[in-house]
Structures are given as structure tokens and as C-alpha cells.
Amino acid sequence: MISRIALLGAYGIQSLQQLGQAGILLYRVVFFPPNVKKGFPLLLQQIYAEGVLSLLIILVSSLFIGMVLALQGYHTLAKFGASQQLGPLVALSVARELGPVVTAILFAGRAGSALTAEIGLMKATDQLSSMEMMAVDPLRRVISPRFWGGFISLPLLTLIFNITAIYGAYLVGVRWLGLDSGIFWSNMQSSVDFRADIVNGIIKSFVFGIAVTWIAVTQGYYATPTSAGIASATTRSVVYASLAVLGLDFVLTAMMIGDW
């Protein structure tokens, strides 16, 4: 019994220590970025690797999500004779919730896992150590551009997700189910507010960007440098990031609705 309590305590201390390490890592990444001239090309490379390469999955999934939303929404709304409200339904649910959340989760799966695996492997093959030995701080040279790349890429991907999803809904609602295009857009415009809906969605995705990339780089940087260690770090990266996104989404929504 006592030993179990001790085990629990040890686990707690260990978790606290990991959290502390992650916090220090974030602090060093945020406050000691590489200098502009050397860092900018690295940052662009990371935006390419994390943002541009995630574009395809974001485009395809958002198109389908928009189409499915329109199809489901249309049949439910039609029961109340309110199928003209399809535009607002899709636009609001995408801009407020689905866009930021689904993009962040897809991003965690596509880019976050790659980040963790890449950094973990660099650690396992002594690339990070040899960088340190060449007097180059791997936090600046490797981790920082990856963190900022993700932070910048995710909101951009969210914007693109939003537009494609709404376009998908337009295809199904207007082109297929025969809603009037003018009503579709004008109802959408009158009920979607730029500040309250779209900007809040973007703010969410910035927060998600920090959370997902922070978790990904931390898991990679502190991964056990073996193949099993990297595998479990990658899994943890995706799982933790997805959970963090969903949890943060609730908190942020509560804050935004409560007008904090």
C-alpha cells in the first residue's frame, strides 16, 4: 500500500519535472530565437515542411467536411422549412469550431508527428549532440524554427480550411440541392460576424498552433533515443496534441462566449 502511494508520488514528481522541462524549452525557444538573417530561410523551410506539405490533406478533408455538413444540415433544416439557413449553419460551425479544431488535429497528425519523429531521430543519431559540440545551440538552430513554423502555418491552414469547407457546402447546397445562391450568401453574410466569429476562430487556431507544435517539439527533444522511444514519443505527440486542442477549445469557447 505504502509503496503504491510512493509510486504515485514518484509519478507525480516525474510529470512535474517533464512539465518543467517543457516550460523551459518553450521559454528558450520563444526568447532566444535565431538571428534574423540566418533564421529566416530556416523558418521558410519549416513553413514549407509543415504548412505547404499539409495543404493537400487540409484541402481534401475540408472540402468533404463542408459537403457532408451541407448535406446533413440541409435535410435537418428542411424539416423546419428553414433550408435557407444552410449558409449560416455551415459558415458558423466551420468558422467558429470545425475549422480551427479539425485543422489543428489534422496538423498534429500530419506535421506534429513528423516534427517529433524528426527531432527524436536527430537526437538518436547524435545530430543534436554534434551540433552542440560545434557550439551551435540546437534549440535555436533546430527547435525554434520548427516551433515558429508551426505557429505561423496553422492559422494560415485554418483560413484555407474555412474557405474550402464553405465552398464545399456551396457546391452541395446550391449546385446539387438547388438552394438559391443569393439567399445562401446573403443569409450567411447577415449572420456571420467578422470580429466575433472569424477573428475568434483565428485566435483559437493561434493558440492551437502553440499547443500542437510545443507538444510535438518537446516530445521529440526529450524522447528516449531508441526506436521504441521515438515510436512512443510520436504517438504521445499526436494523442496529447489532439487532447490539448479539444480541451483548449472548450476553455477558449467559454472565454469567448463569456466575453472575457
Partner: protein
């Protein structure tokens, strides 16, 4: 008085989980010589290198490199010191996303304001020394293990360090590349007036090029001297290591209960 680039005195080190690795170790690395540090696997030879280069900090005692105490250096001074150290890792640690040329150019680009053409010349010179000038466009995964180690060596000497550390340079090499590496280490040391530290458990190779040898086992140094002196040392522990005997002061069996007791107790719980 001999000039030492690394001076370790009364140094103890243990990991965060309490496992002690070193106990009161005294060690001097003379400047301009090749010093071999030998010992069985798992005695913390690599840990010793990490202590010297400041990636780990000792728990007691002092480690001085170039008259500077490693544990008290600021982040910036430590990095300045590391520019004058090179290290060759067991896994060579080449950057997998850069080709051979870029790998060797990496420290130059990071630390010097040299023009691209200067960097090109320097990189070619370094690669010429290790005999791989023809391989500049290859990616690390296209290199054999021995070639990768030579590229890593070229990268380690790119900034013309004063001290270079080799972590198990001979493990997993075929006889030819082993011979190449032995020759390279010797010629580089003499041509560039380096100080070399070789960590190894390959007795013959290490003894063949070292000027001075330390043997570590069980948290402390069990023998030191010139290769000749080591070969004829009377300590049984040392002789077991050098001759590769399976049983001796370092037991063949891992520490365990008596065999009868183990069998009687039945299944492992």
C-alpha cells in the same frame, strides 16, 4: 612542468537517479599528444567525454579545459570554448538532410563570416585531408560507415580545433577502414598540432597510436602510462582487460544470488 589541455582532479559524477559513474578521478591530457582512454563497455567512457565538453556537469571536483573550469562557465563562454573542440561521435552524427559538402561547411557557415568561395576552398581542403574530396555531392545515407566517420572527422576539424575527441572510432569498422582511421588520427594530430583523446575498447588499435593510456574500470582509473608500460603492468584487472580473458577480477557472471538459491525459489516474480 608538462602542459596539460585537460586537467581533471578529484572528480565524481553520478546520474540524477543516483547511479555513480566516477569516484575521485584524476586525469591529465597532455597537449599535442594522443591520449587513449580505455575500459570495458559501460564504464562511462563516453560520459567522461561529455563531462569534458560540458554537456554534463560533474557532481564533485573540477574539470579544467585550457585553464578554464568547465562547470562555472557561462553558456556563452562554454560555446566559445567548444568552437575550439571537435568531437567525433560513435554514430558520426552527420546531418541527414544535408549532403557531404554542406555538412562540412555547416560549422564554417555558423561561426565565420567567410565568403562562399572561401568556404568552398576550406571544405575541399578538409575533405582532401580525409580523402573524400570526390564525395561532396553524396548524401549521408549513401556513405559507408567508415566514410561517414571520415566526413564527420572532416567536419570536426573544420574550425581547426585545439582538442579533438573520438568516441569509439574503431567500433564496427572493417580492417581497411580501421587502418585508414588509425592513420588519419595520427597524421591529423601531427599535421594540425591537435590534441586527441580516443575513447575505445579496441586494445590493439588504441595502444598502437596512443602516446599515453588511461584504463578506467569500476568508477576509477585502474592503470595509466605509456602503451608499453600498460602492456606489462602487473595488475590482474588490467591484464584481464588487455588480454581479453573471459573471467578474472571482472567476473563473467553478473552479480546474482547463489545458483542453488535461485533454482530453489522457483519462478521469477
Amino acid at each position: 612542468m608538462q602542459d596539460n589541455i585537460v586537467e581533471i582532479s578529484q572528480m565524481s559524477f553520478s546520474y540524477g537517479n543516483g547511479r555513480a559513474v566516477f569516484q575521485d578521478v584524476n586525469l591529465m591530457i597532455p597537449r599535442g599528444k594522443i591520449t587513449a582512454i580505455m575500459g570495458p563497455s559501460g564504464t562511462g567512457k563516453t560520459t567522461l567525454l561529455r563531462l569534458i565538453c560540458g554537456q554534463l556537469l560533474c557532481t564533485k571536483g573540477s574539470i579544467g579545459v585550457d585553464q578554464q573550469e568547465i562547470s562555472t562557465l557561462s553558456h556563452r563562454k562554454l560555446y566559445a570554448l567548444r568552437k575550439r573542440m571537435g568531437m567525433l561521435f560513435q554514430t558520426s552524427g552527420l546531418f541527414t538532410h544535408l549532403n557531404v559538402f554542406e555538412n562540412v561547411a555547416f560549422p564554417l557557415r555558423e561561426h565565420t563570416p567567410l565568403s562562399p568561395s572561401m568556404i568552398h576552398t576550406l571544405v575541399l581542403m578538409k575533405l582532401q585531408m580525409v580523402g573524400l574530396r570526390g564525395a561532396i555531392h553524396l548524401m549521408p545515407h549513401e556513405l559507408s560507415g567508415g566514410m561517414a566517420r571520415r566526413v564527420a572527422l572532416a567536419r570536426a576539424i573544420a574550425l581547426d580545433p585545439a582538442l579533438i575527441m573520438y568516441d569509439e572510432p574503431f567500433t564496427g569498422q572493417d580492417p581497411i577502414s580501421m587502418g585508414v582511421l588509425v592513420k588519419l588520427i595520427r597524421t591529423l594530430n601531427d599535421a594540425l598540432q591537435l590534441t586527441s583523446i580516443i575513447v575505445s575498447h579496441d586494445v590493439t588499435e588504441a595502444l598502437s597510436i596512443a602516446d599515453y593510456v588511461y584504463v578506467i574500470a569500476g568508477k576509477s582509473i585502474i592503470g595509466e602510462g605509456t602503451p608499453d608500460a600498460i602492456l606489462h603492468h602487473s595488475s590482474p584487472q588490467l591484464q584481464q582487460f588487455i588480454q581479453g580473458l573471459p573471467d578474472g577480477p571482472v567476473p563473467f557472471h553478473h552479480t546474482a544470488k547463489s545458483i542453488a538459491q535461485d533454482f530453489l525459489e522457483g519462478t521469477i516474480e
